[in-house]
């Protein structure tokens, strides 16, 4: 004879335990997003591509996302992922102007389309333009 936990008891522990861990994580501050800053974005990009130089950074209005450009003309997008951040390069046609910002599409299943909030229309058009004069390729 072996010791077994009855399946309903195991399922009950999962049904109570999983929400308990998630709820306690939330109640102890685990849902707070850490806003982005230029230093964090630069560090992330250099981790991905150490040979590049970050030439410009545009923080979103809510600072939970940002755009950056490197010396080879590549545009990058960064997201706040709760207390951590993630960054990816954006394809040339990946930014579409929207009334509240720029919709960023990477055609990557691991990176769903989201909007970088930018209220200023000039900023939107400057980043959405695939080759604005004096910015792309600037060293």
């Amino acid at each position: 004879m072996t010791f077994e936990l009855p399946l309903p008891l195991v399922l009950g522990m999962v049904a109570v335990g999983v929400p308990a861990v998630v709820l306690l994580t939330h109640l102890t501050g685990g849902s707070a997003a850490r806003p982005l800053d230029e230093r964090a974005i630069t560090k992330l990009i250099l981790q991905e591509d150490p040979e590049r130089t970050v030439t410009s950074v545009q923080l979103a209005d809510d600072r939970l996302s940002a755009l950056a450009r490197t010396d080879d003309g590549t545009v990058w997008v960064a997201w706040a992922m709760e207390s951590l951040h993630a960054v990816r390069s954006v394809p040339p046609d990946g930014l579409t102007p929207r009334p509240d910002g720029l919709l960023c599409r990477l055609s990557d299943p691991g990176w769903p389309a989201r909007t970088v909030k930018l209220a200023d229309p000039e900023q939107r058009s400057a980043w959405a333009d695939p080759a604005p004069e004096g910015t792309h390729g600037a060293a």
Binding site: E4, V10, V21, T25, G30, S31, E82, G110
Partner: protein, 309 residues
């Protein structure tokens, strides 16, 4: 001889999983030596629950296949205590090779990437498991143990459960290091932190399940360095906590790559079975390429553990 009744170790460990996660969360908030985010934790636990459910449903299928193959065994292993211990070592060696393949062949990486997709390293990360194991034929790696050694599938299921529970507790930053003899022989939190690292020197290292000796033996061991904290996650981290995207993003990317127009058959097959990061036009980087690039920019570190000459 009929197999003895053996418990389902993973089911027995469920209360332990819940209690230790709560304790680690407490330690994280009090000491700062671990980190928990809500949606990351929820995603990890959703993946864990899904893995458990799929294991319950489809585990019977893979078990039935192994039982059928057991009828063709070349020898019979037996049920003595030494037989259990020896089988654990053999199955752990099997795990080492399965795990190494899961990191170096994209067909197995598309499932295993799930486990590495969190940028956090805590006990909930241990439960962030793939939903697709039965469908990418992971269980085939157990066939030699069943057919050649005659180890009964019931024994393998029991030992596999112990190995899985062993690997659970090493997913923590709360424990730093054990005394040297333990660190030399066993897989520990320190060794496994390296395995979850995206730093160039930590990529493709420390594949062990329970015994780190396999990595030492086969040249894949890399020690954790105090002067280089582990950066957890993937080389290109995900921008989502959606469990469906976590579980299937790499399969979708693989399918898109392998079916893009204009490729030769060999290139398509390489997208499926070559290393993660392979590309027919050289636009992406595999782990060895990343390591080589790192050494080019840090020539003083060439030849250090985890880095090429």
């Amino acid at each position: 001889m009929e197999p003895p009744e053996l418990p389902d170790v993973v089911m027995l460990a469920v209360p332990f999983f819940v209690a230790t996660m709560l304790l680690e969360l407490l330690a994280a908030r009090l000491t700062g030596r671990a980190s928990y985010d809500t949606r990351d934790t929820a995603a990890s636990l959703a993946m864990g629950v899904g893995n458990l459910a799929i294991g319950l449903v489809f585990g019977f299928v893979t078990f039935a296949v192994l039982m059928a193959l057991y009828e063709w065994r070349l020898m019979t292993w037996g049920w003595s205590v030494p037989a259990f211990v020896a089988a654990y070592f053999l199955d752990d060696l099997r795990y080492y090779f399965y795990h190494r393949i899961a990191h170096t062949m994209r067909w197995w990486w598309w499932g295993h990437v799930t486990h590495h997709s969190s940028q956090h390293y805590n006990l909930s990360t241990a439960l962030r498991q793939e939903w697709t194991g039965p469908w990418n034929f992971d269980f085939l790696m157990r066939v030699p143990l069943v057919v050649v050694f005659g180890i009964h599938p019931v024994m393998l299921a029991f030992l596999g459960g112990i190995n899985l529970v062993y690997q659970y507790w090493i997913h923590t930053e709360v424990i730093r290091r054990f005394p040297a003899p333990i660190e030399w022989f066993f897989n520990t939190p320190s060794h496994h932190r390296v395995h979850h690292g995206a730093n160039p020197r930590y990529l493709d290292a420390n594949y062990a399940g329970t015994f780190i000796i396999w990595d030492r033996l086969f040249g894949t061991f890399v020690p954790e360095r105090d002067d280089e904290p582990v950066r957890y996650g993937l080389v290109k981290n995900l921008g989502t906590h959606n469990p469906l995207r976590i579980g299937f993003h790499e399969l979708m990317a693989l399918a898109r790559d392998a079916t893009m127009p204009g490729l030769s058959i060999v290139e398509r097959l390489r997208y499926v079975f070559d290393r993660p990061g392979y590309s027919h036009d050289g636009s992406r980087q595999t782990a060895p390429m990343i390591k080589a690039a790192y050494v080019r920019s840090h020539p003083d570190q060439a030849g250090q553990p985890g880095l090429p000459e």
